[in-house]
């Protein structure tokens, strides 16, 4: 095989029966779109790094996956994003974590790899580096989707109920 690529879109909560045929088709179409975009780059003599960043950017921009738009929320109700990229040619690396305003974390990871003497930047430091590199910033709300917000609210409600139940049990124990 002269060239090729493989991708994943996560392995959490994916089981037969969870998705309707229509929903499966939506996922399949988006994955095919990403595969074809990467293929075009490789076919036209683009680099593996270019293919990887293009594919991941498409998946980050889609609300279907847990990356970029559509990512899950942390315990504070905010989206915090992480990404990394590595070249097998020269073992150069770029990684970023705790981003809250960068639209495409994989592109910032690639910039850390190519335009920084460092390997791994996090939080405010990573975002200041992004400003210097002219990156696109978005509000944290950009990443939120109604589905993820609903899951988050459900988890928080369950947590609250657990705490209340535990308080009640302690009181019963105390009186008992």
């Amino acid at each position: 095989t002269e060239f090729g690529l493989v991708l994943h879109g996560g392995a959490g909560s994916i089981y037969k029966g969870r998705f309707t045929a229509e929903e499966e088709k939506i996922y399949e179409d988006k994955i095919k779109e990403a595969l074809n975009a990467g293929y075009e780059i490789l076919k036209n003599n683009g680099t593996s790094i270019e293919a990887v960043t293009k594919v991941i950017t498409i998946l980050e921009d889609s609300p279907l996956f847990n990356a970029g738009k559509g990512a899950v929320l942390n315990s504070e109700g905010k989206v915090e994003l992480d990404a990394s990229i590595m070249s097998g040619k020269d073992l150069t690396v770029g990684a970023v974590a705790r981003l809250s305003k960068i639209k495409n974390p994989i592109l910032l990871a690639n910039a850390v790899k190519d335009k920084s003497k460092h390997v791994f930047l996090i939080g405010d430091g990573a975002e200041i580096f992004a400003v210097e590199q002219g990156f696109e910033f978005v509000e944290n709300e950009y990443f939120l989707t109604p589905e993820k917000l609903e899951s988050f609210n459900k988890i928080k409600a369950e947590e609250k109920a657990k705490v209340q139940s535990s308080i009640q049990k302690n009181e019963e124990f105390k009186y008992g």
């Binding site: 493989v6 994955i31 790094i49 990887v52 594919v55 590595m86």
Partner: protein
């Protein structure tokens, strides 16, 4: 989490991973996705890998680099090495998830120990293949 591993016409491999982490994660929690050697790794002599799953276990198992090392030092092929690490080592640690990988010959591997993993590949014949579940 999303990830991609690619081989170009020059024979160069690359891998990348991007994620939001775990729902309701503690503020400041970092998983394996940005940790090179755990969730992402590429080396032209072996393969390119991106992982997805419970990040803490992938960090403890140094999963991506481990697969590459088994190929480099033990002479295993990509499928053998990745199956061993996901189905044996990661399972022993108690972690759930999987990886996608491509080697310098264009061989693909996508082992996982969950019910499903969104995944797909396309090789130089240009036919995209998409799979969701264990049975696919």
């Amino acid at each position: 989490t999303v990830g991609c591993a690619a081989l170009d016409k020059e024979g160069n491999l690359a891998a990348g991973t991007s994620t939001g982490g775990i729902m309701n994660k503690r503020y400041g929690r970092v998983g394996d996705s940005p940790i090179i050697g755990a969730g992402t790794y590429a080396n032209n002599t072996t393969c390119a890998i991106s992982a997805t799953g419970q990040g803490e276990y992938f960090i403890r198992g140094v999963v991506a680099h481990d697969i590459s090392s088994l190929m480099e030092y033990k002479g295993m092929n990509l499928k053998e090495a990745s199956k061993k690490v996901i189905n044996e080592k990661l399972k022993t640690l108690g972690g759930k998830g999987g990886i996608i990988a491509i080697d310098r010959y264009g061989n693909i591997a996508d082992p996982f120990n969950t019910e499903g993993m969104f995944r797909g590949y396309i090789l130089d014949d240009g036919t995209p293949v998409v799979k969701f579940y264990k049975e696919d």
